[in-house]
Amino acid sequence: MPASFSTGQPARWHVHPTLLTHKAPCRGPPLPSPPGPAPGCSVPPGASSTSHSLSPRPPSPAVPHSPHAPPTSRIQRRRAWLFSGSACLQSSLPPASMQPPPPHTTHPIIWSWCLPDWDSVLPLSALEEISEEEAVQIVAEPLLPFESFTLRDYVDRSETLTKLVHLGVDLSKVEKLRNAGQLLLRLDFENDIKKILLFLKDVGVEDNQLGPFLTKNPYIFTEDLEALETRVAYLKSKKFGKEAIARMVSRAPFLLMFSVERLDNRLGFFQKELGLSVQKTRDLVSRLPRLLTGSLEPVKENLAVCRIELGFRPNEIQHIALKIPKILTANKKKLTETFDYVHNVMGIPHHILTNFPQVFNSSLLKIKERHMFLTFLGRAQYDPRQPSYISVDKLVSVPSEVFCTEIARASVQDFMKFLKTL
C-alpha cells in the first residue's frame, strides 16, 4: 500500500505542496459518478443563526461532473452517493432528499434514479473489495464540530483559513468581529478571496500589509469587484497619486467599503469646513485617511471647540489641522484641558500654539511634569524674544533623557527625584 513514511520535516511553517494545489481534505473522493448534485451533501443545521456559532461550509463535491458519462451500475452509484457525503452517514441529519440542494451546484438537473430508493438499496458490506485508488481516496478524518465559538477548531482542515494565517491575518481578532468568522469559513480561497487579494495588490497594498488589513476589515470579501474598482477610479479621478491611494487604503481598511457618493460628500465636507484648496484637502486626507472613514460629528464638535472655547481664528485652525490632522479627531476634554494648562498656567499665547500644535497631541501629565521641573530650575522661558528660550514642541516631543540633558541641563536622577515630590 502507500509509500514509506516520508518525514517531510517542516522546520517552521512548511506547508505540504498538495495543500496549496489540491482542494482541502474534503469528504468526496474524485470518483467518476453520475451527475447528481451530490444530494448526500446536506447543509448542516443551525447554520449562521447566531453570530457566535460557526458552522463549516457544506463540503464541496469534488466530483468531476461529466453530464455525458454513461450511467454506471447501481452499486457504484450508491457508493458514490455515500462517499460524497460520508460525514452525513454518522450524523443525525435528515436524509438528503428532504434538504434543499446546496447553493454551489453546477448541475441543476436531478435524475430520478439518483435519489435513493430506500426499498431497493442493498446494504453495503464492510468486506466488499475495492481497488487501491478508491481505498486511498476514502477520507476518514474525525468530524468537525457543527458549532463553535472560535476558528481554532476549523483552521487545520480549512484551506481558506490556513492560507489566511500564512498571509498574516490574526484570526483571534477576526473571530471577535460580527459574523466575520462565519464569512471566512464559507468563502473559497480560489474563487472568492484570490481576486480581491489580487485587486488589493494592484491598488498597491504591500504583502506584509495584507494581513493587518484583512484582520481589521474581513468584510472586503463581501464587496463587488466592480464597485471597488469604481471607487479606486474615482479617487484617481480626484488626482490622488498611486502611492497616496495605496497608503490610504492600507491605513484605513474600510475606505473602499464607502460608496463614491459618500467619499465625495466627505471630501467636500473637509474642503468646506476648513476652507482649504483642493490640493491641501488631498494632502490632509492622504495623511490621515481615517478622517474619511470615521464619523463626522466629533470633527464638527472639535472644530466648534477650537473656534469658540479655545479662541483660534479660522486661518489658525486651518494651519493647525494641516500640520497635525489628528487634532480633528482628538478627545474634546483632553484638548480643552491641555489648552487650559498650556495657555493659562504656562502662559503661551495663541500664535505660538498655532506654530507648534504638537502640544495638543501629547499627554497632559508629561507637559505638567516637564513644565514644573523647568519652573523649579528657573528655566521656564517660552517667549522667543527673550534669551534662553525653550521651544514648546521640543519640550513635548523629545524623550526624557534628551529633555533632561539638553533642555533642562540637569541629570535624569534629579528629574526622577523631582517627580517624586509632585
Binding site: 502507500p2 509509500a3 517531510g8 505540504h16 495543500l19 481554532r152 517624586k420
Partner: protein, 316 residues
C-alpha cells in the same frame, strides 16, 4: 512564568487610582506576552500525494508532519489576556504618592497588610487666606481672610494640641489596658495602635516649612482618607482665626513601602516590577510577621510554600 507579590508605584496627581491599576496591568501583560512562547505542537496528517508506482504516477496518501495551526499565535491569540492586580490603600484623584499594588498571589498579602493596620506618612501643603467648599485650592471660594497675625509658634501650638488629643484616642482604641507592662513596651517601640477598625487617627504631626501664606506639614496617621487630611488643614486655619486650603496631599510611606521603593511611570514594566517585588520580599515577610505573628498562617507563608514547590519542580 507568572508574577506574584507586592510592589509600590508612585501615583501621579490628577489621575484616578483605577486608571493607574489598569495601566500597570496593561504594561505587565505587554511584557509577559512579549516573552518567548512555546513552539506549536506537530501532528501527522495523511495528505493525497503522487508517488511513483509500478504503473507510472499513482495517487496515494502521504503522511506528513505539520505544525498544528490551532497553536499558532495568530489563531489562539496572546498567551495572557488578564492579570489579577489588586490595589492596597487607595489614593483619591487629586493626591499623589506611594500606592501599593499586588499581583497574582500577592493580592492575598494586601489583606494581610490591611489587617496589620500600618501607619502612613503624608506631606501636606497648605495655603493661608482662602477657604473653599471642598478644602482644596480647586474648589469654590467661600471666604478670604488675612493671615499676617500667624507665626510659627501659634501653628506649632495647634499641632501639639491635635497630636495630644489624637494620642489619647489612640490609647483608647488600642484595646489594651494602658497601665500594663505590655502596653508600655509597645508604646516605647511605637507599635501601640488599634488593631481593628477605628475613626481616622493622627499619631504624629509636625511642621516642615512655614513661609506664609504657604506651609508644609508632615502627618503620620491611621485609617485616614485624603479628604480628612484636607479637613484637618481647614480646621487648623479656623483655629488660627484665619482660613486655609490644602494644595497638595502626598503619601511618602505606606506601611513599609517608602518613597524610594515606589516606581515612577517610566519604570512600570515587567523587569522593574519583578525586581521591586523581589527586593521587597524579605521586608514584607518580616514586617507582616511582626504585626500578625499571633495568627497561625498568613498569605506570605502560602507564597513561600508555592515557591518551594516550584523550585522542586524545576530541579526535577
Amino acid at each position: 512564568m507568572a508574577v506574584h507579590g507586592l510592589f509600590a508605584v508612585y501615583k501621579p496627581g490628577g489621575v484616578g487610582w483605577p486608571r493607574v491599576r489598569d495601566a500597570v496591568e496593561t504594561r505587565l501583560l505587554a511584557g509577559l506576552n512579549s516573552l518567548k512562547q512555546r513552539p506549536p505542537r506537530q501532528h501527522v496528517r495523511f495528505l493525497p500525494g503522487v508517488v511513483e508506482g509500478e504503473a507510472g504516477k499513482e495517487l496515494t496518501l502521504v503522511p506528513t508532519y505539520l505544525p498544528v495551526l490551532a497553536d499558532h499565535l495568530l489563531v489562539k491569540g496572546p498567551r495572557f489576556t488578564r492579570l489579577k492586580v489588586g490595589a492596597g490603600h487607595r489614593l483619591d484623584v487629586k493626591s499623589s504618592g506611594v500606592f501599593v499594588l499586588g499581583v497574582g498571589q500577592g493580592c492575598r498579602m494586601l489583606t494581610d497588610m490591611y489587617n496589620a493596620h500600618f501607619t502612613k506618612d503624608y506631606t501636606v501643603r497648605g495655603l493661608f487666606g482662602k477657604a473653599t467648599d471642598d478644602f482644596s485650592d480647586t474648589g469654590k471660594l467661600i471666604e478670604k481672610t488675612t493671615f499676617d497675625h500667624i507665626n510659627r509658634e501659634m501653628l506649632e501650638k495647634i499641632l501639639a494640641v491635635i497630636q495630644g488629643s489624637n494620642h489619647k484616642a489612640l490609647g483608647r482604641y488600642a484595646n489594651i489596658d494602658l497601665k500594663t507592662q505590655e502596653a508600655y513596651e509597645l508604646a516605647v517601640k511605637g507599635l501601640l495602635r488599634p488593631m481593628q477598625k477605628s475613626p481616622p487617627l493622627i499619631t504624629a504631626i509636625r511642621c516642615l516649612e512655614f513661609a506664609p501664606p504657604e506651609f508644609q506639614l508632615e502627618i503620620r496617621c491611621l485609617h485616614e482618607t485624603q479628604q480628612y487630611l484636607r479637613k484637618i488643614v481647614h480646621e487648623i486655619g479656623l483655629e488660627l482665626k484665619s482660613a486655609a486650603v490644602c494644595t497638595q496631599v502626598r503619601r511618602t510611606r505606606d506601611g513599609f513601602f517608602t518613597l524610594d521603593k515606589a516606581l515612577l511611570r517610566t519604570h512600570w514594566d515587567l523587569e522593574n516590577i519583578q525586581k521591586a517585588i523581589q527586593d521587597s520580599r524579605l521586608t514584607v515577610k518580616t514586617e507582616l510577621e511582626k504585626s500578625l505573628g499571633y495568627l497561625e498562617r498568613t498569605a506570605y507563608d502560602e507564597l513561600i510554600e508555592m515557591d518551594q514547590v516550584e523550585e522542586s519542580d524545576a530541579s526535577r
